[in-house]
Subunit: 344 residues, 4 copies
Amino acid sequence: MIRFECDYAEGAHPKILKKLFDTNFEQTPGYGVDEYCERAKNKIKKLCGNENIDVHFLVGGTQANLTVISSILKPYQGVVSAETGHINVHETGAIEQTGHKVITLPSGDGKVTAEQVLDIYNSHFEDSLREHTVQPGMVYISHPTENGTTYTKSELKNLSKACKKCNLPLFLDGARLGYGLMAENNDLSLEDITNLCDIFYIGGTKIGALFGEAVVICNEKFKKDFRYNIKQRGAMLAKGRILGIQFDVLFENDLYFEISKHAVDMAMLIKNAFSQKGFKFLYESSTNQQFPILPNDKLEKLSEKYSFCCWNKIDENHSAARFCTSWATKKEDVLNLIEDIKKL
Amino acid sequence: MIRFECDYAEGAHPKILKKLFDTNFEQTPGYGVDEYCERAKNKIKKLCGNENIDVHFLVGGTQANLTVISSILKPYQGVVSAETGHINVHETGAIEQTGHKVITLPSGDGKVTAEQVLDIYNSHFEDSLREHTVQPGMVYISHPTENGTTYTKSELKNLSKACKKCNLPLFLDGARLGYGLMAENNDLSLEDITNLCDIFYIGGTKIGALFGEAVVICNEKFKKDFRYNIKQRGAMLAKGRILGIQFDVLFENDLYFEISKHAVDMAMLIKNAFSQKGFKFLYESSTNQQFPILPNDKLEKLSEKYSFCCWNKIDENHSAARFCTSWATKKEDVLNLIEDIKKL
Amino acid sequence: MIRFECDYAEGAHPKILKKLFDTNFEQTPGYGVDEYCERAKNKIKKLCGNENIDVHFLVGGTQANLTVISSILKPYQGVVSAETGHINVHETGAIEQTGHKVITLPSGDGKVTAEQVLDIYNSHFEDSLREHTVQPGMVYISHPTENGTTYTKSELKNLSKACKKCNLPLFLDGARLGYGLMAENNDLSLEDITNLCDIFYIGGTKIGALFGEAVVICNEKFKKDFRYNIKQRGAMLAKGRILGIQFDVLFENDLYFEISKHAVDMAMLIKNAFSQKGFKFLYESSTNQQFPILPNDKLEKLSEKYSFCCWNKIDENHSAARFCTSWATKKEDVLNLIEDIKKL
Amino acid sequence: MIRFECDYAEGAHPKILKKLFDTNFEQTPGYGVDEYCERAKNKIKKLCGNENIDVHFLVGGTQANLTVISSILKPYQGVVSAETGHINVHETGAIEQTGHKVITLPSGDGKVTAEQVLDIYNSHFEDSLREHTVQPGMVYISHPTENGTTYTKSELKNLSKACKKCNLPLFLDGARLGYGLMAENNDLSLEDITNLCDIFYIGGTKIGALFGEAVVICNEKFKKDFRYNIKQRGAMLAKGRILGIQFDVLFENDLYFEISKHAVDMAMLIKNAFSQKGFKFLYESSTNQQFPILPNDKLEKLSEKYSFCCWNKIDENHSAARFCTSWATKKEDVLNLIEDIKKL
């Protein structure tokens, strides 16, 4: 079985394993205050073009989301998200467990618009009984989204502007950030994201690391005492240097971007194969996730050799599937898949 | 600087790194349902002498504690713990954050006694206004304790009996379990612990792994849906096989016990050196943590070459320090320390 | 200004005030274990046709909802509700604050159907990644709903059956229960509700009391230790007898039903007046809340003399309003309103 | 049975009931924005000597404590309290349920000292691993305390100064505030308390009201959006005017102080009777709670005619009891008790 079902089916980039091996018996202090974390943070600061950001390394995405969101909101506030947002559908209510409602916005493509933010904010504060409803307290987006779509620089600028107008911090979930930054049509840089968001994270788990997300706090207001939140949520790794080492390697000589590009290139090959065969897509994605719509029997045929996700039932005879590539996807596997798509 | 300040200063046992390397490009499903997790679970079941236990791999200790405790208690219940318990003092209120009080018992040596459990339970239920106070809902112990002390089989049997009498689940935090099981005076086996506790975990972070704790659920009542709790608390590793591989290696050919014994042996050398020099100890420990009481100037002298924890001020001129060994402690470093203790 | 904006604009039924006055200097134990609470509970048990139910008196509706729901759900479970449910829109996220997601179902009339429950349950458990989503843990309905609609006996039977099939406790919010029970088309009795629900409450705040909701626990499983939950949520009134006295009076000689009927009668007069004038309604309600759709200028005209809620914008020129009657509504005020409706 | 067991055995001051009766059919808006609430707030502002305070009326003490405390603390902070504090022992873990640890200080008399605050604050911030422990986030005191003791102006000034130095908001639980203000040795005024505390409440439940606590927010920082917190915690009374009316009556012509003084006078009579008979007291109290230490057989004798609390076992043969007076205590009952004390 060749797996295209997700972007975390393999281990880590070999350079990471090598560095873990080479440094294994060094003795460092625990909890992320070692020199490897320091080096990785400095690299990230440089890439973000801002020496004043704070960087923290957490283990995983749900953990990062719940730690960040609960650190920002007041008890009576909720987080605004597309209804398809990961925090709303795939985290077992982790955000609600911290006491906060996820306030959902309808979204066809997984994105949130500036207009939606202005609307939900204004309609809350225009309500004379507003104290009886959850106050919007921040905005959560992901880039790329769960649907593989991405924000343009202009869209993110507008959204950021709307958030500032409403005094709503903007938090970007970048679990697949590399795959967004290396998408063909992308015009956003890490620097832009640093300027436009209050807080975001750079995903490692899905892009070359064994695990790990680098949380970047841009807004001064949210920096204080963040490490208490990390510890309280069980998110402070004792051997913190393992996170530091991984991000240090990922951001050495642009490795992160290089392997992200590989995944996107592989996804484009698959996209073209489906497209040339005349299949449509559920979402227009230029990142590592592709959602072709196929007749059920053809999907079944493919599933004999390949694993992928059944995303959505379209009608009685058609379904949308999700094919994922990653930093570790082998070109040979992709070429095999393409051959089999052609034969469908 | 030679570090005796904690048992998580190095990386992982080389055999673990090797296995991570060898399996790196295998594709496995995520979230802990891969074959490596399966193999590790089976080994643990065998060691515990019980095929019916459930085993789950979590990343760290605070995470394991908060996930387990919040999965067992009803909203109005608290967890009974020694006042020195890790959950009470060193987890930034993680348990309270899940909504539960830590009900503390005074404890000189870090242990909880059967009598204390019976007393606190009875005094709660004898109170006519008991509904105004937190109901004891479970008992938390650690083995070894934060003070390096351990339970004898007889003590644990009595405690377990008291808990059963009070219908209070018994949870054992085994972050340093190996160091307890390999202590000279130990008469407890993994099998005993499985029989006497409702739930416990086998620590990997401090004993040879990069990170990881194996939660063992013995009581049928607490097995259902535990994975939802793991996910909700942000404790479900996407690449779950990394945890499976680590525990699979640790329990291959008794590696876990062998490296635990090494740490204890090293600690005994240090203990003897302090003892022969006439120093007393804050706690009587036969595990990998030693708490000698020294004049402050002598501690300062040692701190020029060695890092260790300043645990407690004893009087104006004396303090207790904590010296930790681990699976990775080099004999050569211990011998150097012993030489320097002799010279004090 | 004559108020039809809500059903809690006045104080309490005079018989309640009289009884509070007459018993004022009696000394009783606190916290709801006095003889007035006992008498009120016995009356409710008789009306419900079940000696084995548990009855608890709480102060208000949001308090009752959050106390009940958080006492039933496991941490990773959510409560299923119509998207218009009070817990979803008008309690400032009180349920989420207790750690639980409100899982919403689309609903035109404010009701939840048996089919919806079966669907949401099945689709959760058929999902192979179900542990990544919130597990449905109970079903919340209100009767009458926020929209003034009511369940027929047959609908509630089907819903109850579906819930039992899915092992989902059914909780009925009866903040306006009297107004539902006295609706013309009603075929449900308190006895039916007791048989078909696991837990429900009989609203006092909106039906004759100064404040107070009588929570009735029918399912044995949820009775144990409920008073701890009440106390922990700050919902245990020190002078508990004030609640007992009020419900004792309300259920003396069917006062509760008599005054509920009055409110419904007054609402029907208003309904007919709008209807005869040719206005349509947003929801078909036979209870104390009526939602006529009027041209905006006519609503403005009415608002000069009467206060009511602007519920919904229908189009550029029309809006739906809510007119509420209550146990305290004066017939004279209603007749005046009718005259003014005729003149529109 | 004559009850001295608590200060909430009767209903409300007759003037309150009369006003509730007189205003019963007036129609007012709900949720505490009516004119009675407004009038009561204005009276309280005048008494506190500060037009800028915010006043909110809540139903009960536990509710007030949990709403206030959870509105102030950040997720990783705890509230500092005497170990005997009501929030620590008699609220079923209500504070922990909101996610926060109660950080306890030893206290013989129920009071917290300035030195204790400075110590706990400094020792937290001097700890290099402070992020692993709960950060002190505010200080909770009660006046009078659970032990009937009171703060002198000088003590409260010092405490307030210490809190300001540590940037810890000071919250005073005044469930029995009137009984403290009317104690013989009292030198504190409402104005002083307003100046020295960040937030406090004036208890009504135990002093003449059916129920109700007036929360006073002095510090600008904690005023914003407080009503959201009230609603979310289920603490916003629909018929808010019932609270407004009660406090309006209580602060009309100093009724609150007059009836408080009565309770203290009655308590002093009881105190003297025990004292003259040679009995000692567990705490030195000049408020409405008295804690005489008596031989068990004599307590048993008294318990034939009077109900009171058994507070503490002193030794095999002696116990401390609690006798409570209130605004409603009848002098005749007190005189009877005194006669019976004399006969012991």
